[in-house]
Symmetry: C2
Subunit: 437 residues, 2 copies
């Protein structure tokens, strides 16, 4: 009888359940691709209720446990699928599995972002493979695209909409003129935002993902703390409206990687994009990754960034690749990713980047205000591209002056703003949003 490939699943939450369903539903197609059957042998979860729910699915030949080591130590199991949320536990599971000579599939972006070098160095030492397609972009096969499909390229830049929650919120704010709180409430209602959404809102989730993509693209060690990260919690409706209606820009939370000689820019922040940019049409909970390679030129990868079945699609595609190699006794002969712990990449400080900016000043309605502001900007080498000033004569207290600058160094812009914000005619802290075009 043909040898089957045996899977141990650790973590039976939403994505885990999707994986079980998908392996069952498409088993014949999967068997064709692998050359033999792929079967789940053990399922582990610490939550007995979840296990009970999964027991009801009546999967043949599977046993259940609450102890991850039961799965990892099982010598019949070839591949460990790690789908735990908790970072320290997931890290321990992954490293223990590697040390036991098991191949691993994980969807855990936080663990990979925080322990990339440790995990892949250990995998290299043990000649096992760690696959992680689901960690970035959900159902979009962006990991394979960067790691293989575009491997002949030097990556010049990546612009990513990598977080579905924030993209959903910004879409509601843009299309339905909601304010942030309303949009967040709806996102929660629809299941696109978690109860405590700070990981998404603050941009950290996107930072994890761009770190993974950068590590793939450059095969180098990058520190999470070096990534400049700014979320969308402070974004207000009227800036979205002014930027779109007056200047033709759409606001997105972008994760940005740019190669600049032997350094890189790596940052996550609300960003204005020209309306006609492909990324501007990426709406709701969708993700997209825009990659510029020196040979391929501009490419984009679009799809569902999260959800039970899109994530399961990525996990099971990894399982198929690994299982085929396991079945043919070649898994681990070639490392999956390039990981050179000695190669470090210098990340350019946010104050040293150069881009265009949208700025909103809130001023008193007095003559000469604009000239004062532009004078200060000019003295810091920041020149104005276009300005929009609300009609005078309305006796308003706080008058917005909105402008788009030419390319300028961020450090200079910040210095100018802090000077401007101290002017007596300026009523509130000015708003600064970076533009990408």
């Amino acid at each position: 009888m043909k040898r089957k490939v045996n899977i141990g699943l650790i973590g039976a939450g939403t994505v885990g359940t999707g994986v079980i369903k998908l392996l069952e539903r498409n088993s014949s197609g999967i068997e064709q691709r692998v050359g033999t059957g792929v079967v789940i042998r053990k399922i582990c979860d610490r939550d007995a209720l979840r296990l009970r729910r999964i027991r009801k699915m009546k999967i043949r030949g599977v046993s259940f446990t609450g102890d991850a080591m039961d799965v990892i130590s099982d010598k019949d199991i070839d591949i460990i699928v790690e789908l735990i949320g908790d970072v320290p536990r997931a890290k321990e599971v992954i490293l223990s599995a590697i040390r036991k000579g098991k191949h691993v599939v994980t969807a855990n972006k936080a663990v990979l972002a925080k322990h990339w070098t440790e995990i892949f160095s250990e995998a290299d030492r043990q000649n096992v493979l760690v696959y992680f397609e689901a960690s970035v972009g959900g159902g979009i096969p962006i990991v394979r695209a960067l790691n293989e499909g575009l491997s002949a390229n030097r990556i010049r830049s990546i612009l990513g909409i990598l977080n579905g929650t924030t993209n959903y919120i910004l879409t509601r704010m843009t299309d339905d003129s909601m304010d942030f709180k309303e949009a967040l409430a709806i996102a929660k209602q629809k299941g696109f935002a978690e109860k405590n959404p700070s990981l998404d809102i603050d941009g950290l989730d996107a930072a994890y993902k761009i770190l993974i993509l950068s590590s793939l693209a450059f095969g180098a060690r990058i520190k999470l703390s070096d990534i400049y990260c700014e979320g969308i919690g402070h974004v207000v409706q009227k800036d979205i409206r002014y930027a779109r209606d007056e200047f033709g820009y759409i606001l997105k939370l972008l994760a940005i990687l740019k190669q600049k000689g032997d350094k890189i820019e790596l940052r996550v922040h609300p960003t204005l994009l020209p309306q006609e940019h492909m990324l501007s049409s990426v709406e709701d909970e969708y993700n997209a990754i825009y990659v510029d390679g020196d040979a391929a030129g501009e490419t984009m990868f679009y799809g569902r960034g999260a959800g039970e079945m899109p994530a399961a699609s990525a996990v099971v595609s990894d399982v198929i690749c690994l299982a085929r190699d396991v079945y043919n006794n070649i898994a681990g002969c070639v490392p999956h990713v390039l990981c050179n712990p000695k190669k470090k990449l210098e990340i350019i400080d946010i104050k040293d980047i150069e881009t265009k900016y949208y700025i909103r000043f809130t001023t008193l309605d007095r003559p000469g205000v604009l000239s004062k502001i532009s004078g200060i900007l000019g003295s810091f080498d920041v020149s104005i591209g276009s300005v929009y000033q609300m009609g005078h004569g309305k006796k308003m207290q706080d008058v917005p002056i909105v402008m788009v600058t030419h390319r300028a160094k961020e450090g200079n812009v910040r210095k100018a703003l802090s000077r401007i914000d101290r002017l007596s005619v300026v009523r509130k802290k000015s708003v600064l949003i970076r533009i990408e075009d």
Copy 2:
């Protein structure tokens, strides 16, 4: 000394030159990914002028020949890169290389579409690999996406803008109100259309590509002649304008695959898409492939479908994958694609498909015409969604009546049209364009 991986390049035209440049330019990155150096040993072209041009690039250690067998028979060469245009010659090169135990990288969509089963059956027999990322979508890694990244999915549908020439022409017709001839002339001027552009214009190039994607998705044998294929040569300006201005549709040449139970629809034709569809924003010479999988849901892959460096990006990414496996002595242990010559897929006849249609009638300006037309449509089970009729009273000879139908069977629509076109009040053959939404 470390063993290097040796390449033989057959065909030194545009893409071949790009491959040479890219292997040179990014050699250190490529060496890192492969684990050893990748070097071109022999370059073959029958055109002595081309060879002379390439000689000037002064690539170290390479020899030149006009005879492909010189390259194929060289026992030091591991991988043959086939970049010949001519189909019979390319087929011979690929099959000879396979029989000599060489792995092959090809960009030749026509050869693959016409001889898929023969090539991959022979590769299976000889335990060698044939890679072909550049054959579809140029720099977009769509072959890997379907073959690996989405391998856990049953593919429900693929909508592809797979031909840059026709997309460029349709973009000019849509955005700049050009007629077909003008747009074609500009496409030729800009190098986006060949002197004899019929392969592109008639949709055959797109048919080759959708056949390759379908073969990948289903691992089955599909006959090129079963694909319904209609080009853009007969598309007129005013239909593009009416469809957009009156109904909000954009015209694209789409290659369409749809899974319907155990049969498939497979067709290439001008297609109207809702303006807000992601594919509608794919302009100029860009390509995009919209894939719907049962787990991943909707994904899209976008980029440059042709050109020296985008195609070279795909070819060299294939070379990197193969070279890494060659270097680690595992190339050929696992087949690259699923190819089951016995599995045949039935393709649904174009008359049996069901979709929505845009129809333009050219009629005399008389009362009762619309009622006659809609009566005949109704008698064939074709019901009208919305109609646009040019204002009366202008004493026009030929009055256009433009409509969008509800979903209907194509056979019925055609029967109705042939009846309608025989009416004395109908002045010209009616225009029929399929809608995808």
